[in-house]
Structures are given as C-alpha cells and as structure tokens.
C-alpha cells in the first residue's frame, strides 16, 4: 500500500474534521440521553447516533452500540431509494427490518442534511423503544410466527416531517397503537431532536470549512480507515476458519438455532470474508436476524478480534465481505418472518461464534464467549401504577449484569450484559427504577464461582431479584445460555448456566422456563441467575496473585481456587493479608495436570 502518496488534503485537516464529526455525534447522543423519557433510553442508553454520507456510507458513529451503528448506512440507502423528492426539512421514520433496520423496536430517525441546496449527509438517530405496539407488552416477541402475530407498527422509510412539521396523521396513529403514548412521544421528540442537532452542526461545519474541503475529507478519512484495517489484517495469520455454535431451544426451533460461519482471513490481500450461507432457513418465531443484524453482528465478531482501535466506518468496511443468503435465520429474512428479537440472542451468538473461531485458531487472538440473551434481569415489565391513579407503565429494565468473555490479555467485563452491547449500556439505579415503576428490587449480587475459569477468566454472573410492590406485573424475558453455555476457549472453562427462578410468597424458590411471559404477584420475586463469561486459556496458568484477588473480590471460592485454579493459600481466611503458598500451589498444579492425562 502506498501510504503518504496522492494526499489531496493536508494532514491537519484530516485530524481536525474527523474530530469535529465525532464531536457532532457526541452532541447528538447527549441530547438523546438527557431528554429521553423511557428508562431504556435515559438510564440504560439503548440508542445510537451516526452521520452517514449522502450516498449512504457510514462516516462517524460516536459511542454507538455495535449492534446499532454498522448498518445505519444500509438503512439510509434503502430509505432514500424510496423517495425522489427528498428535500431540506424532511425527516424519515423507519423501523423496517426488511429494509435495513435492525428490529422493529428500534425506531430510527433520518434527517437529510442539505448544504447549498445539495443533500450532503444524513444525520441518523436510532433509539430502542419502551414499546412499539407489539401484540403483547414487550419489545421482544419470541413466539411470533410472523410479522402479523408480532404486531409492531412497521414504518418503511416514512416521511414523518416535511418542512420540519410532523405528519400528525402518523403521530395520531402511533398514539393509538403504542402503549403509554406520552412516553413514546417524548422519546420521539428526543430522537428527532438529536437528529436535528446533528443537522444544524453539520451545516455549520460545511459553512466553516467549505463543501469541497469537507467532501475531500470524507474520501481521505475512508482511505485512512482502510489503511488502518489493512494494517490490522496484515498482522493476522492466514487461514480458513470455521465457527459453530448454537442458541438455546426456542419456539419454532426445539433443538436450538445452530449458527455457522466460515471465515477466510487473507493477510496478503488484506481481506476478511465471512460466509453465513450455510445456516438453516428462517424459523417461524421472532429469532430471525434482519439483514443488517446478520452483517453487523458478524462484523462485530471481527472487530472484537482485530483490535478496537481500528475506525469503524465505510472505509474499514471495504475490507470485510459478508456473504448471506435469502430466507436464512442468520441471513436475509424472508417476509413475513418475524425479526422481533433480531438484536439480541441469536445476534449475541453470531458475534461470539466469530470471535471464538479466531481464538480457536490462534492463541492470542479472538475472545471466548460471553453471556447472552435478555433474561428476567433485563425483562420488559408492564402493569399499572397505583401510585399514579393506575396509569399503565411499560419498559425494559436493566438492573442486573451478565458476565463478559475473557480475551487473551484481559479478564471479562463485569457489566457486559451481552455481546451486542458489550458493556456500553448503562445499568439502572435501584432507586431510580423504584421511583419510576411500582417495583421493589430485592437484590443484585455477584454469583460466586460462576465465571468461566481460565488464564484470563470470564466475568462472573449475578443473582438479580425483583417483584411488584402493590399489584401484579407481567415480565417478558428470553434467556439464552441455559442449554448452551457461554464457551471458554483454548482450555478456558465455560461460564455457568443462566436460569430463571421465582421466590414464592411462602418462601419456596422454584425454577421457571427460560422463555416466558411471567406474572409476578405481590409477595413474589422474579429471579435470574445470569451467566458468567467463558475463560481464555488454561486456568492452571493463571497467575496465583490474580486468583487471590478474585477470592478477595468474592468472585471465586477457596474450594474453586484449589480445585480449578490449583492455588493454595497460607491460610484460607478472607482477610487483607491473604497470601498464596507458592510451593504448595506448584505441587497442586502439577498434580492436577497429571490427573488430566
């Protein structure tokens, strides 16, 4: 690659303008966070913003979630293809999973940005809704056989504003069909506001630097990003990898949903090819990937494996090819199959199958698997609030945490949640949740010995419990990692199983099915034991001092330290002076190794 040759723009402007675009996206994000009304936006931060070029290439994605940002480009391309009269002042609403959106609960606002009469960029804000009009009070419909049973209002590139005025017909329609309409409308305003802020700032930027220079910048920035990924791919070994995994059994797939990927890593050509075509057909339930999700989750697995410092935009995307086929559960969904759960669950599995394939092939690369799914700890809850004259409420609550996978150098991230959000989302405050909704959270605590042990260990899972304060509530949840655990790699152990449970009013604790819409009555507590992440490498190679720290953290018991990590302490008592007994540890480790053969 020639690197410095044929540069059209001075290197200073490249640094300046890339920074300015990132600042614009962060300003959009801040607007959405501070003005959003539902907890899933203003607490959990389940939204993303981006700037896309007029010809629909992703330029800048701020702190957006992995599952949201890759594919904003495809969505924009498809939406603008529908309209030949796009003009300044327009805003489009889209949540169509057959048209490039992720899943129907992600309402996306696209604002075309005009400068000097030309459509130059598009400001995009995507926000997960507290409700999207599904036939049941949840934004994830696992059992929906098709889009009709799913029931969400689907907007296919709908012009929701012309000349900056709402299409009030659509607003009225949404107010009739989306639960807690004031909450939806507040979130709509917040999302629209974020896109409009982006529009204003981009116009200012173009006026300040001139359209020509900004356009030149865009091409240079893509070239720069391409150089970065070329460099990253060239540092990988060459190989044809294969990854296989499976989501737990679900409606329409009683044995689970297998996920397969073939990966071609070609450092000489500096390309990575992902082939997802050898997967089963669409399933008659909500677990189908949308096209955008299939692509972005496979690519997330790649970015997790080549280093996160490579810019993620249309420039670096040039070097990754994803092959999909039509009517495929991880491919292009055939209408009217439902994609209601496209952003989690199978999506998490897809990310992890890819990163695990890298780890399986080469030590020092890829990652283990982490927790996945949306169990009771992150259920969508609904009911009525007697504190406010029985007003209805609905929202996805994210009070717990699920364990992240180990990498070759770093232990798993504790508040990881799942592969598609990778710890970027925020956790709810117990007090804020209890103030907003008539619930009582009973506990949130780390689950000891739930980590996938390894040279680097997965993060532990947690035990989360909550119930209603006054009247019954309904909780919709979809556990994954109940049957097929988060797998360790290269001798690292699996994370523990994720389970749903309920403490009854009489104190008994029973196990619940992994996928359910559960009524929780006063006096009852809905509980999840979340998975820990899988480990990376042999636990007997873990530095004993790290095991000691884990014991003091309450992550690992003395018994597990001995039996799994082969670490002995001078005295097994939880105290600041806890010390590893080195010779006994070496002896024990030798014995455990010998016992394996």
């Amino acid at each position: 690659m020639s690197v410095v040759a044929d540069r059209k723009l001075d290197p200073i402007l490249l640094a300046v303008l890339s920074n300015r675009f990132e600042t614009i996206v962060r300003e959009m994000e801040n607007t959405l966070l501070r003005t959003g009304r539902s907890a899933v936006l203003n607490v959990s931060r389940d939204f993303s913003c981006a700037v896309v070029t007029a010809d629909s290439r992703l330029l800048s994605a701020g702190d957006g979630l992995p599952v949201h940002v890759i594919g904003m480009d495809r969505l924009a391309r498809n939406v603008f293809a529908l309209h030949d009269d796009v003009r300044e002042g327009d805003a489009f609403l889209d949540n169509d999973p057959y048209l490039g959106n992720t899943h129907p609960a992600d309402h996306t606002i696209l604002v075309p940005v005009f400068v000097g009469g030309r459509h130059l960029f598009t400001a995009v804000a995507k926000a997960h809704q507290a409700d999207c009009g599904n036939s049941e009070p949840t934004t994830y419909m696992p059992a929906a056989r098709d889009v009709y049973e799913e029931g969400a209002l689907i907007f296919s590139g709908l012009r929701v504003q012309r000349d900056r005025d709402n299409d009030e017909d659509v607003i009225r329609m949404c107010r009739r069909r989306i639960r807690v309409p004031d909450q939806w409308y507040g979130d709509y305003l917040a999302t629209l506001g974020a896109a409009r802020i982006g529009e204003a700032r981009i116009v200012e930027l173009c006026e300040r630097y001139g359209i020509d220079r900004v356009e030149a910048f865009v091409e240079e920035w893509f070239d720069y990003s391409e150089r970065r990924i070329v460099e990253a791919i060239q540092s990988l070994p060459a190989g044809e990898l294969e990854g296989v995994g499976s989501h737990d059994p679900v409606p329409g797939a009683p044995e689970g949903i297998p996920v397969k990927v073939k990966i071609g890593v070609d450092p000489a050509a500096a390309r990575i090819r992902l082939d997802l075509t050898d997967n089963v057909d669409c399933v008659p339930s909500g677990f189908n990937q949308s096209e955008t999700c299939a692509i972005n989750n496979a690519m997330t697995g790649v970015f997790n494996s080549i280093g996160g410092d490579v810019p993620q935009n249309a420039g670096s995307f040039r070097r990754i090819d994803v092959e999909l086929r039509e009517n495929c559960v991880v491919g292009i969904p055939r209408f009217p199959h439902s994609c209601s759960v496209a952003t989690t669950n199978v999506a998490d599995r897809l990310v992890m199958v890819v990163q695990k394939a890298f780890a399986d092939a080469w030590d020092g690369y890829g990652r283990a698997e982490g927790a996945s799914g949306m169990g009771p700890g992150s259920a969508v809850i609904s009911g009525r609030d007697r504190r406010h004259s029985d007003e209805p409420y609905i929202n996805q609550k994210i009070a717990g945490c699920q364990g992240g996978p180990a990498g070759p150098e770093v232990d798993g991230w504790v508040t990881y949640q799942n592969a598609v959000t990778a710890g970027l989302m925020f956790r709810d405050s117990v007090e804020i949740d209890e103030q907003k909704y008539p619930i009582r959270i009973a506990e949130v605590r780390i689950r000891p010995d739930s980590e996938g042990a390894g040279r680097r260990r997965g993060a532990p899972g947690a035990r989360i419990g909550f119930g209603p304060r006054f009247d019954s509530l309904i909780a919709h949840y979809i556990i994954d990692g109940y049957r097929f655990l988060p797998r360790g790699v290269r001798g690292g152990l699996d994370g523990t199983r994720s389970e749903a449970r309920k403490a009854l009013a009489d104190g008994r604790e029973i196990e619940l099915p992994p996928i359910s819409e559960e009524e929780v009555r006063p006096g009852e507590t809905l509980i999840q034991h979340t998975s820990g992440g899988g480990g990376y490498g042999d636990p007997l190679e873990r530095e004993p001092e790290r095991v000691r720290d884990d014991v003091l953290r309450g992550f690992v018991s003395f018994a597990r330290a001995r039996e799994v990590y082969g670490v002995r302490f001078v005295r097994e008592a939880i105290e600041a002076g806890l010390a590893v007994e080195e010779s006994a540890t070496a002896t024990l480790r030798a014995r455990l190794r010998a016992a394996r053969e």
Binding site: V4, P11, L14, A15, N19, R26, E27, N30, T31, L33, R34, T35, G36, R37, N42, V43, D63, P66, D182, G186, L189, R201, Y224, R227, R228, E231, A232, F303, G307, G308, D309, Q312, C401, E409, V410, G412, T415, Q417, A422, L424, M425, F426, R427, S429, E431, I432, E434, Q435, K436, R440, V444, R445, I446, G465, D549, R553, G554, I574, E575, A576
Partner: protein, 702 residues
C-alpha cells in the same frame, strides 16, 4: 482601607503534586511565590513560597503570617491519597441484597470493541457488610432494622481493624431512621472511629453515587483531620492569629472544621478555584458586573487542559466527577464545579498511528522526563516541543528561567517522529501538532458549551495556567470567542482564585413533589429545615463574612419520565400561594429550553432534591497594579505562524508594559510564569491589574 488594616495580609495557598503556589495580597500588591511540595507536611513549602514571592514581601515570612488575618488553603492531598491508596481502611455498610453496588457502578464502558480491565470497588467486598433492613421508595419501612446484623458487622469491622465506616442504605434519603440508628450503634461500638452517613453527606437519589461519596468521605476523615490540624498548629506556632479556611469542590471555602467533617469536598478543590480567579480578573479588568460575566476559564498544565464555565456570574456545576477514568474509577457523587479535563496539556505526546494520522495524547511526558526540550531524556515530541520549534516560547525565560529549553532537541524529536513520517517540513509538522491539540480542546469545549445550550461566541476566554498562552488565540478563533483575558499570575491561577473564594456551603434534602399535586406545607417544612442549617453555617463564620451573606434556594427537577434532573433556582424562598408553584413550573420550562432547545409547556414538573446554598463573601481585596520596568527592551526571535510563514518577531518582557500599551501580533509576551503568543492580526493590551486583554482578530479565517 484604614491605616490599621493596611498591613494586614491575606494569604492563599494551593498545594499541587509538585509545586505549592502561595499568593499574598496586602491590599495593594499581589505577591506570588512557589515552593516545593513535601509529602508529609504542607508548611515548609508555604514558607518557601512566602520567601520566594515576587515582588518580594516587605516583611519576612513569619511576620507576614503574624500579620495575616486570613489563610485560604487548598490541597490535592485528598485526591493524591486516594490515587496512591493511602486512605483509611474503610468498611461499607449496605442494605442486605446490595453488596456489589460499588463494584457494578453504573455501567457505560467506553470503546465498542476494546477490552479493558474492570476496576475494583472503592471498598473491597470483604469489608462490605449487609445490614438486614429495607426502606421503600416512599419512605415506608418494608423491613425493620435488625440491630443484631449491625452489631455483628461492627464486631467484624473491629476485628478487621478498619479505621472508618461508610453507611449507605437504599432510600435513606427519604427515611434516614435506619442510618441514624446505625450511627448511634457505631458511636457505642466503635468509639472514635470516623463514620459517614450517606443521607447527611449527600442526600441524592441513585445509590451508587451516594454510596461512593459516603465511603470516599469516610476514608479521608482521619487523614484530612491530621493534615489540617498539623497545618493549623504550624501556622499558629508561626504567629498566625487569623482564620484558616479550606477550599472546596463547590468553588468556595469554609472553616477548617467543616472540611474535617466532610473531607470529600476537598477532592477537586484546586481546579474549582480557577473560575473564581477568572471572575475576579474579568470584573477588575473588564469592569463587568457579576451578571455580565460569561467566561470560559482554561487552566493549562503539563498533562491536562482544564476548562470550566462561568455563566452570568455563576460558576457552572456538575454532578459527575470521577477519580480515575469514567466507569472504571470512582465517582465522587457530589455536586462540584464542572471542570472538564482534556488530555492535551503542554506535555502531551504527538505520534503517528498505523494509518498515518497525527494524534496528540493521551500519553504525556509529564514533568519527568518531560518534553524533549527539557533535555532530561525525553525523546517524544510534545505540544511544548512544537511551541519551541515554532519559536513561540523563549527558551531562556520559560517558567521564569527555571528550566532552560533546548530548542535543538525539540526540533530533533519533531523531525523524527512527526515531520519525516508525514512528509512535512519541520514548521508544518510543528504547526500540525498545535492544530491537532487545539482541535481536541475545541471539541471538548464545544461539548460542554453548545451541548448545554451555551454559545461560546458570547464568552470571554480566560487563559490561566502556565501553558495556556501558547494556543489561546487559535482556540478562541476556532470557538468564535473574540476576546481573551490572560492574567500575568496565570501560573498560580488556583491560588489566586482561592484568594477570592466565597464562603459557601450547600445543604440538601430529598423530598419528592409534583407541581400538579403540590403539598406546599410539606415542601415548606423541608425548606425551613434547610434554611435553619444554612443559617447555622453562616453564624459559625465568626464575623468573617461581610454583610451581604445570604441563602439561595434551588431544586433539582425534571419532566415526568425523565431521570436526569436540572437545577432550577426557586423564584420564591417559600411556597405561600398557588402562584408560587406556577412560577416554579415556568422557571423549569425556561431552564429546560435553555439547555435542550425544547420545552413542554403545560406538562407538570417533578421536584426531587431541594437545596439551600449559604454564601458569604470574605472582605475583598483589590487586584493591584503591577510595577512597571520600562527599561526592559524587547528582543527579537524567529517564529513561524500559519498562513504567515517565518519572520522575526519581538519578544516583549511583560514587566515593561504600562497599562494601556498595545502589542500587535505576531509577537510574544514573556512573563515569569506564562507566555502569551500573539498570532498575526491579534493584539494584546496591558490591563490595569496585570492582565492582557487580547482581541483575537480574524486570523485569515472567518
């Protein structure tokens, strides 16, 4: 001033990690000195600073102390103790079920695809004790306090030899009964062991923030008590008979006893003084009234560029301050002056990444080895090196001549690490480093101004800190600020701010109320309670305050469904009539529109935390006029400016400039603790009180 008061001194001290800044005002002149910070004791560095003051004090250090009526003291000691792990071994008492609050924090990892190590909790899990109790959101007791669980925890705390206890129970801010009872049991069971109750320290909703504040505070109590008592002893022994005040993260100061009681408020107190200094200079030099002061206050040091905001005379506050990185460090949880720290100080390192993009920071050469031009073994090019290569710093007079800069080393480092890989000549490479650093700073400033509905073009940029003058002009131009105020004492900016710090204490109580069903009597009870606390604080000031002491009220409020509240000043100190509630609603709509560009008129407002802020001004000293030494002649130095090229430009000694003198760029004004780089078409005018007022001009753009 009466003849009697004329010889009374006021002393402000800012203890930093390396240097201790001392500023003395005698009502006429301001004397600034530096001493070398000692780890264990503050006093030796203070003495050094007094002895080294410029211009020299007319009396010796101990006479000065004996003749001083006020010392305002700021220190980074609390923060350093936390970072270095030298705080007390602290236990955490939490509601049963929530032992991992400090571990889990609030999520929000940065970096989509990068793996980073998770941060340990402030208090280790084995010193965390679950207390059997539970209060609900409305304050009703769901599960009564089981005292046996407290007594058991107390016994184990004693056995584990903890020196402090932080207590934070769920919903204690609504019903503090259980926390108060635990306080009694701690007094009995662990007499003399300092403890902090969360509802008293920081009554905010959000258990992680409150718990974090509580345990940090408890862990600092013994240390700060010993430190401040030692200081008090030392200055008393030297003959000081006046009042000792300690600066706070509020941007004010309070008596030493209060700081010992709530030491968390000394965390971040140094940087919080910068906007105070900014206001003092803006008022003196620009003749601004309080309400007219809209300032962007910069304080540039070796590793960071700190920015804070003053809006209509009010220093902007923030609720989120982290020790360490966001989401892996520890939140202080207390409202404090909003200081945005950007990793683009003088020591920030410039490098080329794998795609040939020029980057600046976040790595810093620090003070040791420091930039390449320090000649102490540093080989990486820094922002300071770029300034030296461009001819923007006078190598012989940097930091008052304390460090002689080696321009050849700066050029070497830039040539090897920036110019060659980018195929640029040396001047273009150095310019590129300055531009990239400036862009990062401008981006961060835009985030805290425009994103909050503040237009930087309406603000005056106050450039404090030793390195601020290097790129103040391009920063201002890029932001659209027309004017810069650069104080000569920029190098001791926080200490100057401390001299002007008001006596401030804030009291808060959480009491949920909605404007659509407003219980005026209940809210008034809360406000009465806060008023009483605020007045008790003012009464304790012991005659220090002037007659304009007062109490301001505000409430943190939001629209239904929102969870991020914004502070709104109360239009009336009590709610006597329905009209008063409507006035509050209107004030909220306006505040929301100002910040987020939208409002929802007709919608009711949720009120959460009520606050009373007691403010009193100490007797003010005047900013003095510095002596002029017109004999100092300018020298000439070769310097490079973008779109202008290389030229011989004058380097003017600041001490030679009489008030009103104008210097037109390109030029460099050299001061003992700072340097002013005047880009072409900018001009600087010497002010009456030792500052430079810079008109930035167009610079060929805009």
């Amino acid at each position: 001033l009466t003849g009697d008061r004329k010889n009374r001194y006021r002393i402000a001290i800012d203890i930093g990690g390396t240097f201790t800044d001392v500023v003395v005002s005698d009502g006429g002149e301001m004397h600034v000195g530096k001493g070398v910070t000692r780890r264990e004791r503050a006093f030796p560095a203070i003495l050094e600073g007094l002895e080294a003051a410029e211009p020299p004090l007319p009396v010796g250090a101990s006479q000065c102390l004996a003749a001083a009526d006020l010392i305002t003291y700021g220190t980074t000691r609390a923060v350093n103790a936390i970072v270095e792990g030298r705080t007390a071994r602290t236990a955490f008492f939490t509601t049963a079920g929530f032992p991992d609050t400090l571990l889990l924090r609030e999520g929000g990892k940065r970096g989509r695809f990068t793996q980073i190590e998770y941060g340990d909790p402030y208090v280790p899990r084995y010193l965390t004790f679950e207390i059997e109790e539970r209060v609900d959101a409305d304050g009703t007791v769901f599960r009564p306090l089981e005292e046996a669980s407290v007594l058991d925890a107390i016994e184990r705390v004693g056995a584990a030899e903890c020196d402090a206890v932080g207590v934070c129970l769920i919903w204690s801010v609504v019903n503090p009964r259980h926390e108060l009872r635990i306080g009694e049991l701690l007094e009995e069971g662990l007499p003399g062991v300092p403890y902090t109750l969360s509802h008293r320290l920081n009554p905010i909703v959000r258990e992680y923030r409150r718990a974090s504040a509580t345990v940090i505070d408890a862990s600092l109590k013994r240390l700060m008590q010993a430190h401040l008592r030692q200081l008090e002893q030392d200055v008393r022994a030297a003959g000081f008979e006046g009042q000792l005040l300690v600066t706070t993260s509020f941007g004010g100061s309070w008596p030493a006893e209060e700081a010992i009681e709530r030491p968390i408020y000394s965390v971040g107190s140094g940087p919080s003084m910068a906007p105070r200094a900014g206001i003092a200079y803006a008022k003196a030099e620009l003749g601004l009234e309080d309400r007219e002061a809209n300032l962007l206050v910069c304080d540039t040091g070796g590793t960071t560029f700190d920015v804070s905001l003053v809006r209509e005379g009010e220093i902007q506050q923030a609720a989120e301050t982290w020790i360490g990185n966001r989401s892996t460090g520890h939140i202080t949880g207390t409202r404090s002056v909003h200081v945005e720290s950007i990793g683009a100080g003088g020591g920030s390192i410039a490098w080329i990444d794998a795609g040939d993009l020029l980057r600046v920071g976040p790595s810093s050469a620090g003070a040791d080895p420091g930039p390449a031009c320090y000649g102490r073994g540093g080989s990486e090019p820094t922002v300071t090196d770029a300034a030296v290569a461009l001819g923007h710093l006078d190598p012989g007079r940097f930091l008052g001549g304390r460090i002689r800069l080696d321009a050849a080393r700066a050029r070497e480092a830039l040539a090897a690490k920036v110019a060659a890989p980018l195929g640029l000549d040396l001047d273009a490479a150095a310019e590129a480093v300055m531009v990239v650093a400036t862009t990062q700073i401008v981006g961060a400033i835009r985030e805290i101004t425009i994103a909050q509905g503040i237009d930087p073009r309406e603000m005056v940029l106050v450039a404090g800190g030793g390195a601020a003058g290097i790129n103040a002009v391009p920063i201002a131009r890029e932001l659209g600020c027309e004017r810069i105020l650069l104080p000569r004492t920029a190098g001791a900016f926080s200490a100057v701010g401390a001299l002007y710090a008001e006596l401030i204490s804030e009291f808060a109580a959480t009491s949920y109320a909605e404007t659509r069903s407003f219980d005026r009597a209940a809210v008034n009870d809360v406000l009465d309670l806060l008023t009483a606390e605020a007045e008790r604080f003012l009464a304790r000031l012991d005659g220090l305050a002037t007659s304009d002491a007062g109490v301001q009220f505000s409430v943190d409020a939001r629209y239904p469904g929102q969870v991020w509240d914004i502070p709104v000043p109360l239009p009336t100190p009590r709610f006597e009539r329905g009209d008063d509630v409507e006035a509050l609603e209107r004030a909220f709509h306006a505040a929301h529109r100002r910040r987020f560009a939208v409002e929802e008129p007709g919608r009711h407002v949720e009120c959460l935390t009520w606050k009373a802020r007691a403010v009193a001004s100490p007797v003010r000293s005047q900013l003095a006029s510095p002596p002029i030494d017109a004999r100092r002649e300018p020298v000439v130095q070769s310097a490079y400016f973008p779109q202008f090229g290389r030229a011989s430009v004058p380097v003017v000694d600041g001490a030679s400039l009489a008030p009103g003198r104008r210097i037109a760029g390109p030029a460099i004004v050299s001061e003992p603790t700072t340097t002013v780089v005047l880009y072409p078409s900018s001009t600087a005018t010497a002010g009456r009180h030792g500052s430079y007022l810079i008109e930035v001009g167009s610079g060929g753009r805009r």
